[in-house]
């Protein structure tokens, strides 16, 4: 089987009726382009979301579609070459955040983000994921459980060092615990304060909790790269660790795709319902604030909030961050299109991890820059480290004078004794 055939097979490997309906229903109205940050910012029609999966149509028609037999018998489906797929790499990876805004505008109800995820699986299977450095990170994650090859020992040392630095008691590898928090590799690399914040809040709540070094990194770079096996291995590693210590709640960090994977896909990989609840950190905080387990001081601050697409639009937790901000007494000035119709920061779906995509990413960031400036706020909070990092980097490149903050850290800093 040649590279192109591998890619095609990878694309159709788990096609069910929903994905097939998506392939069958497009009327080529082009509205999805108008919802995509990359098309809107560049005007380049290649960035039309449904066009991004165009080469994979032949695989669907030949292998899965209702007239597949006829396509095969008469050789009707166009053959895709490796060169064509290689030239398509920037459409499948660099210019798609899998944010699903296009899925929201589609009059046919086509989940284009899901099709792009399948296309990425095909590309990864054929060895066509961008090596610099999303593909490289996925390979490391598949092999070691951590995209930065962080060993168990090193992670344990890091956690204790963070505990010492921030003056917070760390619980690591305890035999049993009700709550198991996980981390994002971005936090490990860039925002260690978020792990201190989780520890501080869980200590405040007073329930038993522990980080588990045998399954800690929920980031799942493999998902965004398209490595299904790596995605499954990473997910099951975390599930196993939480199951081992009898967790009742598995806590997802401020990371969009980590939540998507663990909340909605992990049970499928596990083969049955998970023996614990999976909560994104904002859901946990909102619930704790509502039932009184988490008590906070009022923050006298005006700010805006950037939704993480996977948490809000595609994850259903749009209300949680707003509940938190209200409980903190933050004077929230919403961005235009806030909530379910928000624009991606430009870094989602692993695009932040593709070095060559930086200029394009910056163009997508400009939408967010304009929106934040329109609110007149100096601070923008978010609950996704990927978004936070993209906004930080975008802001730096644009010499922006706005502060990007973590909602989790804001809560941790506002706890009432």
């Amino acid at each position: 089987m040649n590279t192109a055939e591998k890619a095609m097979r990878g694309f159709v490997s788990d096609f069910g009726p929903t994905a097939a309906l998506s392939m069958e229903s497009c009327v080529h109205c082009g509205r999805c382009a108008e919802a995509c940050q990359f098309y809107v910012q560049t005007g380049d029609p290649r960035y039309t979301p449904i066009h991004k999966i165009a080469p994979f149509r032949q695989a669907y028609e030949r292998e899965v579609g209702p007239f597949a037999l006829i396509y095969r018998l008469f050789g009707l489906a166009r053959k895709v070459t490796v060169d064509e797929l290689t030239s398509w790499q920037d459409l499948i990876y660099d210019s798609c955040n899998m944010c699903g805004r296009c899925s929201l505008i589609c009059p046919m109800g086509i989940d284009i983000a899901d099709l792009v995820e399948k296309a990425r699986h095909g590309m990864y299977t054929a060895g066509l994921a961008p090596a610099d450095y999303l593909g490289l990170l996925a390979e490391k994650e598949h092999a070691t459980g951590s995209p930065f090859r962080l060993s168990v020992t090193k992670f344990r040392e890091m956690l204790h060092a963070i505990g010492d630095q921030y003056g917070v008691a760390m619980h690591v590898d305890e035999a049993t615990a009700d709550i198991v928090p996980t981390v994002s590799s971005i936090d490990l690399k860039t925002y260690p304060g978020s792990m201190a914040a989780i520890a501080k809040i869980l200590n405040h709540v007073g329930e038993s909790w522990t980080f588990r070094t045998d399954g800690f990194d929920a980031d799942n770079v493999s998902l965004t790269a398209g490595d299904r096996d790596g995605q499954r291995a990473t997910t099951l590693g975390v599930v196993q660790a939480a199951t081992t210590c009898g967790a009742k709640t598995l806590l997802m960090p401020e990371c969009g795709h980590a939540f998507t994977e663990m909340r909605w896909e992990a049970a499928n990989a596990f083969g049955r319902k998970l023996p614990f609840r999976v909560m994104q950190i904002t859901e946990f905080l909102a619930e704790g604030l509502a039932d009184g387990r988490i008590r906070v001081k009022t923050v006298k601050q005006r700010a805006t909030y950037h939704d993480a697409c996977q948490v809000s639009r595609r994850g259903g937790a749009t209300a949680a961050p707003r509940t938190i901000l209200e409980a903190l007494g933050v004077d929230l000035h919403e961005l235009e299109d806030a909530g379910d119709a928000n624009w991606c920061c430009g870094g989602g779906g692993g695009v932040a991890l593709i070095n060559r995509a930086a200029p394009l990413r910056q163009k997508a960031f400009e939408i967010k820059q304009r929106q934040v400036e329109a609110t007149g706020m100096d601070t923008v909070y978010t609950s996704c480290s990927g978004c936070r990092q993209t906004l930080d980097h975008g802001g730096k490149a644009a010499q922006w004078n706005k502060t990007v903050g973590s909602l989790l850290e804001l809560v941790a800093d506002s706890l009432r004794p």
């Binding site: 309906l21 009059p107 998970l274 379910d340």
Partner: protein, 219 residues
Amino acid sequence: MTLLDFARGPGLQGAWLVMVGGTAWRIAGILLLRQRLHLAAPRIGFAGRVRGGLATVFTRFVPRRTFWPRIAVSVGLSSTFHLGLAVIVLGGAPHIQVIHQFFWLTWPSLPKGLVVIVSGLTLASMIALLFRRIYHPVLRLLSTTDDYLSWLLVFLPVLTGILLSGETIASYRTLLTLHILSVELMMVWLPFGKLLHVKLAFYSRAAMGMNFARKGAAT
């Protein structure tokens, strides 16, 4: 047998057969694929997959307000075209007679003058949609033979219908023959191209609605 006899008899029967058989085959081929597992616990407060699916079928008729400024032309033209077709097919007296003949259902028709005006608007919107498809960079890139063929096979019945209503360029009999044959051509193509979105749109919207409703996510 005249061509009109053919169009009214075997032609129509054959078109029905292809349309119904082809549609059943295509939809069965989609729905009989192995369903993916959904083992994750639905969001607390989940209103139900069926409700979510049904809601999305209706909400996707009207785009969210936030998208309107960028898609107003697309929505305006396609709405005119779709609503126009509905008025012509369901409001024109001859069409109601045909429907009564086959399905024993009937309802009052709209005034002929109104249907003619709507037909003109429908035709105009179709021509505008075609120009847009040819000249808009995104639509030009996306368009395939199916898009142009499907356009033509819907355009011809509308055009011949307008000509028929005025009995303008040819005899009533000739125009009626052309009109029926053009409808039959459309029926024959319907299961195999984009025209089947008359059915698939509902399935696709419902599938997305069911999937996202269980997540408590926006549909």
